[in-house]
């Protein structure tokens, strides 16, 4: 079996040394290089063409997050396993979205680092259990307001007109229906968008550039 070549990028020497000790003598793994900054990691990736880049996020200069796409550009087949202190759902989302294949929390590295590398070898994604729960929590939480596309085209018209400051009567006149119908539309819009007041409605329209300000 070919030994997987690993580039270790972390600005802390003690961490790099620990990882080296952990991987040394393990069959199947070889550390081909070390980097202490984000740009160093990109440069060494281009030169050493490692199979896996073990990447810290908090580094001087180019951060790990910023380095992810650069590394992939420098050597597209490289897989990136992020090793970080950040137990943040947003951070996890960002690095994964940027192209990293896995994420291990430093607090769990003793247990998860090897597991993560093994997973990457098998072309799988790896997440520390804590990171998984953070991401799940983020998905479950209300991600903000509904998009305007939950409205029918008629409702969108009413919304726009109301946001422009037209009265129910004026809107009714413009659309050629009775003011009572506009009332009903308005109630539906409020319910669908979970809004409470007319000013909420105007704000919504402005945020979603349905009206000019």
């Amino acid at each position: 079996m070919r030994r997987m070549q690993i580039l270790v990028a972390d600005d802390h020497e003690v961490v790099r040394k620990g990882i080296r000790t952990l991987l040394d003598g393990r069959p199947g793994w070889a550390i081909c290089g070390e980097a202490a900054t984000g740009s160093d990691a990109v440069a060494k990736t281009a030169r050493l063409k490692p199979d896996v880049v073990l990447l810290d996020i908090t580094m001087p200069g180019l951060s790990g997050l910023e380095a992810v796409p650069e590394i992939l550009k420098a050597h597209p087949p490289a897989k990136i396993l992020v090793l970080t202190m950040h137990d943040s759902g947003r951070m996890a989302s960002r690095v994964l979205a940027a192209g990293a294949s896995g994420l291990v929390l430093k607090s769990d590295a003793a247990r998860d680092l090897i597991l993560g590398l093994e997973a990457l070898r098998k072309n799988k994604v790896f997440l520390s259990p804590k990171v998984t729960s953070l991401l799940v929590n983020e998905l479950r939480q209300n991600q903000g307001e509904p998009a305007p596309d939950v409205l029918t085209s008629r409702e969108t018209e009413v919304l726009k007109a109301l946001a422009e400051g037209k009265s129910n009567k004026e809107v009714a006149h413009r659309l050629g229906v009775s003011p009572r119908t506009i009332d009903a539309h308005r109630a539906h819009i409020m319910k669908k968008l979970r809004l409470r007041t007319l000013s909420d409605l105007v704000h919504f329209a402005i945020r979603h550039t349905l009206v000019d300000v």
Binding site: V14, G18, L65, M85, R90, S107, R111, N142, G144, R207
Partner: protein
């Protein structure tokens, strides 16, 4: 001889005249008590002697008219040196009276002694007066009635001393009481006099009277004896009243001039009618320089330049504000100003403007604000530094330690089960430390705020908050929020933290909504809940709380607004982006 008693008769017109003079003298006495008490030095002496003289003349006149009212069937003349002596007795009675009532205190003893002297003098006045009668009649006195008249004189004096003592303080609104008291006193004098008159009875006498200095009193004489003292009394009274008015005018004038605030009076045509000394001191304008000018042209340069302030006053409202003004030399000062509507004595509407120099206070407030801002900044900076240190140094070393321990535990050299157990525990402890360090760093200053920015840090925080508290939070952010200046991001994040914590602890709201929008010029954050509302936003959050939020926002030149009602609370922060 008793059957030969001469029957006298009274001229009631003169009796009434004597009673009127008694009243006038009493009223003057009550009024003079205040004058004598209220003045010092020469002026006191003048009031004492002048007052006593006019009062004495009044009392004497009353008695003499009272005697003249009585006529006998024989012709009566009066020995004028004796009459003069009786006048002196009256003046002495008055001196005693004014002296006693103008002392600082009046006890029972002093009142009694005073009334014995005063009453004695009045008795003397009366009987000396009687003694001055010259005619073909002999006097006899009834002991009982004479004794009664003496008692009445002393009792009347005693009463007059107390009443005068009571009225000497010149409290306003006592005029009616003063008139009643004067009536009472007058009545006492009249009673004493006519009792004494009744004590005397006359019998025809063959002994020729000593007429060497005697004069007879004509009708014209009566007019003089009553008219001149009455005039004297009235003039004394008027002088007393004028003197008091003058004194009050001086007092009010001093009060105005010496008021500890700068005061200016402006008439309805906006021209200055009067200013006081403090005005001159604060603004540097002498009265002659400002009269007829407008406050607006002289000192006003701040907010109250706005006509609406003055219109409010003209509509009868009072304006209470802080403003900036200009001195004569052009320098600026901060003032607390009160503009109040006012009516001039002519009925013309005017504005009463009161300025107090608060430059020092403002300076202190600004210094305090700057200091608290600096403290907040320092604290933020310190927390950020400590968080960095924990996250980037201690944390990394602990992470390395954990990895090393894992390496050791994997190696087979540790056959000893105890050593293995201790090692496993060490690894576990190290990982716990690492998590604690991470939490501590996050609480001090979330590293994600620096690395990812407010949008992501807020989302992380809101998600964590929702999970911990069970309160769903809707978070709306402008798309492509981007990064803001670090101090703005920190301030907004801290306010978000503080508000959500308050909401969780106090509001009982089932949900919350956070909106953060940015434009080129400003960033707006709104945090809404549906809770009970904050009864008192400051009281409900002891410690820094809302006050701390306000200070943060002020430091960054923004605005913080809290709208609280029964259906919930909305906190709105607007910060400018520079």
């Amino acid at each position: 001889m008793t059957d030969q008693t001469l029957l006298g008769s009274y001229d009631y017109r003169l009796v009434v005249l004597s009673a009127f003079i008694a009243f006038l003298a009493s009223y003057t006495a009550l009024d003079l008590a205040g004058r004598v008490t209220g003045s010092r030095g020469w002026s006191r002496l003048a009031w004492l002697t002048g007052g006593a003289t006019s009062m004495g003349i009044g009392i004497w006149s009353m008695h003499f008219i009272g005697m003249l009212a009585f006529s006998l069937p024989v012709s009566i003349q009066y020995d004028w040196p004796t009459v003069l002596l009786s006048l002196l007795a009256a003046v002495f009675a008055s001196v005693v009276a004014l002296f006693v009532v103008s002392r600082a205190k009046m006890g029972a003893m002093r009142a009694l002694t005073g009334s014995v002297f005063m009453g004695g003098a009045i008795v003397a006045l009366h009987y000396i007066g009687m003694y001055a009668m010259r005619g073909a009649a002999a006097r006899r006195y009834s002991t009982v009635l004479a004794a009664l008249s003496i008692l009445l004189a002393i009792a009347g004096s005693w009463m007059s001393l107390w009443l005068a003592f009571f009225f000497r303080d010149e409290a306003p609104g006592r005029r009616r009481q003063k008139i009643y008291s004067a009536l009472l006193l007058g009545a006492a004098i009249v009673a004493m006099h006519y009792t004494a008159m009744a004590a005397a009875s006359f019998t025809p006498s063959a002994v020729p009277p000593d007429l060497s200095h005697a004069v007879s009193v004509s009708t014209l004489g009566i007019a003089g004896i009553s008219g001149v003292p009455a005039m004297v009394l009235v003039i004394t009274l008027l002088t007393s009243i004028l003197d008091r008015l003058e004194e009050q005018k001086t007092l009010l004038n001093e009060l105005f001039e010496e008021a500890p605030s700068a005061v200016a009076l402006e008439n309805s045509r906006d021209s200055i009618v009067r200013i006081n000394r403090e005005f001159t001191r604060i603004f540097g304008y002498a009265p002659a320089e400002v009269l007829g000018s407008r406050l607006k042209d002289l000192i006003i340069c701040g907010e109250s330049q706005d006509q609406s302030y003055w219109d409010l006053v003209k509509r009868g409202r009072r304006v209470d504000a802080e403003d900036t003004c200009r001195r004569k030399d052009g320098s600026r000062l901060d003032v607390a100003v009160i503009l109040a509507p006012f009516s001039l004595p002519t009925g013309e509407a005017a504005t009463y403007a009161i300025y107090r120099d608060i430059t020092e206070r403002k300076r202190a407030e600004n210094a305090l604000r700057e200091l608290s801002g600096q403290l907040l900044r320092l604290r933020d900076e310190e927390r950020r530094r400590m968080a960095r240190e924990l996250h980037d140094s201690t944390g990394q070393k602990l992470a390395a330690l954990a990895i090393n321990l894992a390496v050791v535990s994997e190696s087979a050299i540790l056959a000893d089960a105890r050593a293995r157990g201790a090692l496993a525990e060490s690894l576990d402890l190290t990982q716990q430390c690492l998590r604690e360090i991470r939490t501590l760093a996050y609480l001090l200053h979330p590293p994600e705020l620096d690395e990812l920015g407010l949008a992501d840090a807020a989302r992380d925080y809101v998600n964590g908050f929702a999970q911990r508290s069970g309160i769903p939070v809707e978070l709306n952010l402008s798309p492509d929020f981007g990064r803001l200046a670090p101090e703005v991001e920190t301030a907004l994040f801290r306010i978000l933290q503080e508000s959500l914590n308050n909401l969780h602890r106090h509001s009982g709201s089932p949900s919350a909504r956070v909106q953060i929008f940015r434009s080129d010029a400003k960033v707006t954050m709104e945090i809404q809940d549906e809770g009970r509302g904050m009864q008192d936003p400051l009281a409900s959050t002891p410690g820094v709380g809302v006050a701390g939020m306000r200070e943060r926002v002020r430091q960054l030149g923004g605005e913080l607004e809290i709208l609280s009602s029964e259906s919930g609370t909305t906190l709105k922060v607007v910060l400018p982006l520079r």
